[in-house]
Amino acid sequence: MGDWPVGITDIGQQFADVGTQTSDSSGNNIAPSGTAHQKGAWEQLIQSTPFDSAGLLWAPSLVQTGARYSVDLGIGAAGSEKILIPDLFAHVNNFSRGMPMRTFLPMSIPAATRLAARSQSSAGGNSIDANLLLVSAAHLLAPFPAARIDTYGFVAGSTAGTGVDPGGSVNTKGSWAQLASGTTYPCQLAMLAVYFPTTPSSESRWYLDLGIGASGSERVVVPNLFFGTAATNAMRSQFIGPFPLTLPAGTRIAARAQSTLSSATYRKVNVILYLWA
């Protein structure tokens, strides 16, 4: 017997791509401001979403080597856009057609919503392509329809994340770096963007802890998230998650890391935290 979940209409669940450029098998082009670290103009992605969405697949694609980008997804009429998801980060090194990662982002978006996007880059100008795929209701998301995402640790003035330094002792946790002094809303879901500001000198690995609590009294809540890269690899920023993380509003969140590298030039990672309310 089939299992078409109750309450989901028509063929069951629905999917819709937004702004796909079929003529060259790519996505929406979202042009940053010509000035570094400043958001460009809002660009419409779709005038009216076709159904109530429970989330979207986000897949940026970059062609400018070494530049860092952030993208705001917004809703609302032209000229009155409001940020729905702030500062989705993307970075690649040594790529001529790089896609950092496809990531599913739970987010409730009513049918008939106008979606727009704007971006900034660390170099100014150039462009970022982004594919979007809207996903309708899903059992997996039913308990907590996601209503907002807040970003912590993003440094808009340099289009960068917060630096986390593992310190000079290899395979030993470094100091905590604060990502949020106090979260604005309760959260139930989290995602990290991590990237390497300098291409590592050798194949290298990191463990990263997320902690909560006052400075000097941090307590680990997510231990030893692993990421790695190869030397001179064509590197992409990595999204880790979304994963469950239930925290109250007002929580201080910090990160610390250990690495196989001791060089102050190569061991550091940058981190941005996204929390779902």
């Binding site: 299992d3 194949e203 998650g241 239930t246 196989t260």
Partner: protein, 273 residues
Amino acid sequence: MGSWALGFDHGTKAEAAGLAGSTDLVALSGGSANNTKGAWTQLLAATAFDAHAMLLVFNDPDASFNGLVDIGIGASGSERVLLPDLYIRTETNKFVGRLMVPVAIPAGTRLSARLQADSTVRVIDVGATLFARGFLPPYGLQRADVYGVFVSSTSATSVDPGGTGNTKGSWAQIVASTSRPIRYLIAFISPHDGAQLQDNGWLIDLGIGASGQEKVLVPNIPSTSDNGDEPEHQQYLCLPCHIPAGTRIACRAQSTSTDASDRIIRVALYGFG
């Protein structure tokens, strides 16, 4: 006022599995013959809490190869496959991929893994982070079915966009009939058949329905390849997706490439219910 979510006895819980010394993960070795499973290797002796999701990560293969990884549970010598034949496509020493698996695992469970590869005695590192319930539904997901994988050759289904650039090719069947309902889907997509990768883009449709009458379910999933480098981070697509038992699933794609080798992608599906 704080919000430690009511009705959740877990609060925030997470633990790592598969950690090894020197900021590393546990190394898996493939079987002594091509396309045969190696021995089970323990990732964690006993999980600390009831987990409802697992973030798997693969890293640092010793060579370029195609591999299938089983995640197992149970005592040493009595392991049972929990997640079968997770497909990986590797390049020497590089980060391979990360995927979120929303599967329920009771506290006290021993976790292990094993590898097969299309060449002998290959090695890859594997680790995981387990999470308590959080946003996931109370009933959890309990099983995974794999479609489109060829265990005998450690490969996945080939999808050819055809010789016309940026135009959808023919449908390729991934599975004739799904064996159980799916509520969460992981798609492995690897633009990797070409001997030398170029700067290419793909748009991939997943469709359902009988041959010749396919209806697009998930349209225009994007993928890219870069000149000379692996698409390592984009191998996995994880999203909620409802598909009933008994469904035929097929895949088609378009590509910027018209090269008979470079344009081809490999696809495998994992249905969780």
